[in-house]
Subunit: 205 residues, 2 copies
Amino acid sequence: MGTKERRQREFNEREELFLNVALELVRSNGLLNLQMSRLAEKAEYAVGTLYLHFDSKEDLVFVRRHPDYFRVAQYTLCEVSWKATSAERRQHFLEANDPLVEIVSGIVEDARRSGDLPPGGATAQELAVGVWALCGGHQQLAHAEGLMADITITDPYRLMCRHLIALLDGFGWKPLSDPNDLGAIDALIARVQREVFNEECDVTR
Amino acid sequence: MGTKERRQREFNEREELFLNVALELVRSNGLLNLQMSRLAEKAEYAVGTLYLHFDSKEDLVFVRRHPDYFRVAQYTLCEVSWKATSAERRQHFLEANDPLVEIVSGIVEDARRSGDLPPGGATAQELAVGVWALCGGHQQLAHAEGLMADITITDPYRLMCRHLIALLDGFGWKPLSDPNDLGAIDALIARVQREVFNEECDVTR
DNA sequence: GCCACGTTTTGAATTGAATTCACAATCCTG
DNA sequence: CAGGATTGTGAATTCAATTCAAAACGTGGC
């Protein structure tokens, strides 16, 4: 019975199409101006079809996992829309984050095992939350146009890295570095970018 | 010419009324369910009157400075609504934050002068941004129901304090404390609450 | 090939809320 | 107290999300 499977595949492809078109629209007009009818039109399907895939607009936005993820995550986490979202989607979001939590926790545990991080105290997850919060908070501030400029901050992402270093230093994570040594930080950023992300990702944007 | 002034006063009082009723509604039904027509009705004025005071709903929400400030600030800073807001309101928001920036910068400078904080390196404002980001990020995560529970974090605000301590320790701000000494942290929280906030503010909520 | 039936897709109609604006009410001034 | 200016009103408009009855399509049996 291959028909059913083909159907399913086509359905998935259409969903993918919707998501891609949505992404395009979000990129050019912003999340706020995303309109279901325009999205449907641009994808060359009827609005109703869109609603076969997504329960609501929130739902549509929620599904995206992508380079623009940060922006969506911020919107999603914003209490207002968090509460507007169905419990299933929230669960989905939380579960989608699990692997990340795993990875980060693993890194923390490795560090502890190897003695880079003093034993006892914060659990791996507690530490991870701090990093997550710091990144999210910086992201939020960095995107509020004019805010950083107002307090004469240039290069907000480098600043974020400095704060991350300070935070981890505060937990005694070795090697300790100086959050004020800009040269060393730039070198570190460059190295991580090269060795971990294989140049694919420009952290400074 | 006292009439004009009375008028102005009455206008201001009405604005205050609108804001109070709005706050009530937000508290009972959430920010998302705030409806202009219901607000007008509850305040016993016409919708049009509401619009004499506020250009839009965003505008109304923006104006509030209050214990629920965090929630509103989060919504405000969320890129999506930040961009939807008029440039004037944004400017207003930024200016309203200036005194806070001043205060925090002052504290940082005092610390540097007294030798508690090593000289050089991050500017006071850069340091302040880190604290702001960390608080905002924690706030965001803490309010996303289920998220903290999912990764077995209890007492997210205490955790936030631990991370703040770690961050400042990382910058070498004396006295250095151990972000893992929970007893000391609780004592510190209690002390700050007592001496600075005069018990008026329950930080643990 | 063609019909009947279930399934999928459609988009016009509905709904719900923000915002506007022509008119009404009120206030002020000479 | 007339009448022009200012302020307040809420029905009407607008705009976008969501629904749902009907059309189009696919499938298996004859």
